[in-house]
Amino acid sequence: MKVAVLKGGRSLERGVSLRSGARVEDALERLGHGVLALEADGELVRKLEAERPDIAFVAMHGTGGEDGTAQELLEILGIPFTGPGVAACARCIDKVLAKHELRTAGIPTPDWFAFNETAFRELGAADALGGLEERLGFPLVVKPSRGGSALGVKFAENWFDVPEALVSAFSYDDRVLLERFVDGRELAVSVLGSEPLPVVEAIPQSGDSYDFEARYEIGRTSFVCPAELSEAEAASVTGAALSAYEALGCSGFSRVDLILGAAGPQVLEVNAIPGLTDTSLLPQAAEAAGMSFEQLVEKILDLALTPASA
């Protein structure tokens, strides 16, 4: 089969995408497929039309690839592709939109407020911030609505941290959310087709609990898979993750990030196209399920080519 691997792009997660893409290409070659490595740039459509691959493996993260843009092009070109479709991508990339969908579907997600930059610049939204303390309480987490990894995510201990955190978050997106901080265990459930993979737990090293960047570094965070959960806990976490995956219309594969706090699991976000690098969580979960990376890649291709079963 001739497989185009789409990678790179202009997003801030370009580096991760290039690593994901390289690893996928490598696996595809070992599986005996013809590989067409494609940088997502101005030549992309021309190359896809000239080469007409049987399928596109989308290994792009962040805006441009994980937000439905590339998927929309592939639909127009009539080329099947891996992972969630346009609508699911568009919902997942936007944390605010995703949280609304989750809440509508009755899936627990931490309370939040979202603001557009124009609301502050033109409508005096700053006056509405006063209600935050009462409605959300401190500490809270300030995040850009669209953005990957820990970029622009800040922890606000109190009222005085908020404006600065907002300025940072607005550097990444024109919409941000202020989310209630939920204390608990940090878990990720990758879903393949409609099957949940073993739960991964991220355990920050001491002192780094509020350092979001530490989540993405070997040595500063350790990852345990399968996470040590009771049967009931595992069932509720996996159940919440599957519900979120379905509520957002995901297919193929995705990763659901949750917090397991005193009140049970709460879904933070769904990554439509999670990382596939050496250190990424989806491949770790697949490995814990007894699946090699090659098998994972083959399965993802199968799911894309037989969407009915997904």
Binding site: G15, A22, L151, G152, E157, Y172, G219, D278, F293
Partner: protein, 456 residues
């Protein structure tokens, strides 16, 4: 693309990674955050105007001269130029080094000189020779971002001393030395870039140079003077290097051909007292046996032509115009809340924004405008510098510099305005006249310990 089969390694699984993780040395745990690394990866996109690099301009080096010299080497000295050489470097290379140092008034004993693979290796070899884990190293705040990973990899405790427009504040250095003294400790080295510092662009005053050298003498401390830019002076009067003031007893000197000829030839040097030299030579043997003989031959040929000073003069002219273009663009496009240094030489300007702007985050916004800079945090070991940035003016032409600064100014102005809207603290609508005189504020540019900062 080549038709050869791909040489890609088999990718490791997460289980393998865990096993590797158990093998890593403690010193690898100080690596920079991957988020920051990914952000910096985006700055390399071809459509980005990058003021982030530190590249000298090599485009005006005469290609014909280069070709003639390399041809001569191939014809006359092929066997030797392709062979190993002495660990200390060729005597002929050292003669060129003595000539370069002479241009700044220094007279080193050729026996005290070792040729290294760039100035960077000289830093590494000195640390290798001097530092045990936990040893104290003192450097400037901010300091050369490339020195930090070296200090970290030898597991040093890095202590940063604030700079202002006159360089490292010696009274703060003395206070730090007293503090260490009271703990029964001495720093193994005081690392400084006294002239046109990377990243701050400031130059240590003569009075402070003298005090630093006296301090080193009276306390018997080693000062490492890193002087890559000394000959790239665009204005003002030359100042004596620390090495010249001291005579080479307590000052170890690091130089490089990178900024006056080419960084691609990877040739630098260190000048140290004989006992230190002995250890440095042993360290270099372990690292790479010798510096590239081929490029040493090139430098020899190049210096034999006797036009190296002319080339530096041409570079100085180019960089002066670019610095002027950047300063003018800063005055035009940066908001009045920003301040910056006005370097008399070198490659960099250091700009400081209001404390509520984190330049690592601002970089993400700037990248959407296709422009990049180095966030100030890269020049600190302790997370300070968050509201500063390093701007390079040697790599791009004046048009790129003006456009790059315009774009950065735009994103800063947007964040200043946003903060005003968030806090009700309307941004000062101060006239441009105020912004035209950043020099008045320079005294306050480099000390970052503003009230309320640093604690959280």
């Amino acid at each position: 693309m080549s038709d050869l089969p791909h040489r890609r390694r088999a990718h490791v699984s997460s289980g393998d990674l865990e096993r590797y993780a158990g093998l890593f040395a403690q010193r690898t745990k100080v690596m920079r955050s991957s988020a920051m690394r990914d952000l910096m990866a985006v700055t390399a996109r071809p459509d980005v105007i990058s003021l982030a690099g530190g590249l000298p301009d090599t485009s005006t080096f005469p290609a014909a001269t280069f070709a003639a010299q390399m041809t001569r080497i191939a014809q006359e000295s092929a066997a030797k130029a392709l062979q190993y050489g002495p660990t200390e470097g060729f005597r002929e290379t050292v003669d060129c080094i003595v000539e370069v140092m002479g241009a700044e008034g220094m007279l080193p004993d050729p026996e005290d000189v070792i040729v290294t693979t760039g100035g960077q290796q000289a830093i590494d070899l000195l640390c290798k020779a001097l530092l045990d884990p936990g040893d104290a190293v003192i450097c400037e705040a901010p300091t050369y971002p490339g020195a930090i990973p070296v200090f970290c990899s030898y597991e040093a405790e890095t202590i940063q001393i604030e700079c202002d427009a006159d360089g490292m504040r010696i009274e703060e250095l003395e206070a730090a030395l007293e503090r260490l003294d009271s703990e029964g400790r001495r720093p193994k080295m005081i690392y400084s870039v006294p002239s046109f510092q990377n990243p701050a662009g400031v130059t240590m005053s003569l009075e402070r140079r003298q005090r630093l050298v006296e301090l080193a003498r009276s306390r018997e401390l080693l000062v490492v003077e890193d002087n890559p830019y000394g000959l790239l002076r665009f204005g003002g009067d030359p100042l004596p290097p620390l090495y010249q003031l001291d005579g080479g007893d307590f000052v170890v000197y690091i130089g490089t051909f990178s900024k006056i000829l080419s960084p691609g030839i990877r040739l630098g040097w260190a000048v140290t007292p004989p006992p230190v030299m002995e250890k440095v030579v042993l360290g270099k043997q372990a690292s790479d046996l010798c510096t590239s003989t081929l490029t040493q031959y090139f430098v020899r040929e190049y210096f034999a032509e006797g036009r190296w000073r002319e080339y530096i003069e041409s570079l100085v002219g180019i960089y002066r115009d670019r610095r002027d273009a950047m300063l003018e663009a800063l005055r035009t496009h940066f908001p009045p809340q920003a301040s910056w240094t006005e370097p008399e030489g070198g490659l960099f300007i250091w700009a400081t924004l209001p404390p509520y702007i984190d330049t690592s985050d601002l970089l993400a916004k700037a990248l959407r405008e296709d422009v990049a800079f180095v966030p100030g945090q890269a020049a600190y070991v302790d997370g300070r510098g968050r509201n500063s940035m390093r701007l390079n003016f040697s790599a791009g032409n004046e048009t790129e510099i003006r456009e790059g600064i315009r774009r950065i100014g735009k994103v800063i102005a947007e964040q200043v305005e946003l903060y005003g809207a968030l806090t009700g603290e309307r941004p000062a609508t101060a006239s441009r006249v105020e912004a035209n005189e950043p020099q008045a504020e320079v005294e306050n540019v480099l000390p970052f310990r503003k009230t309320g900062e640093g604690g959280a």
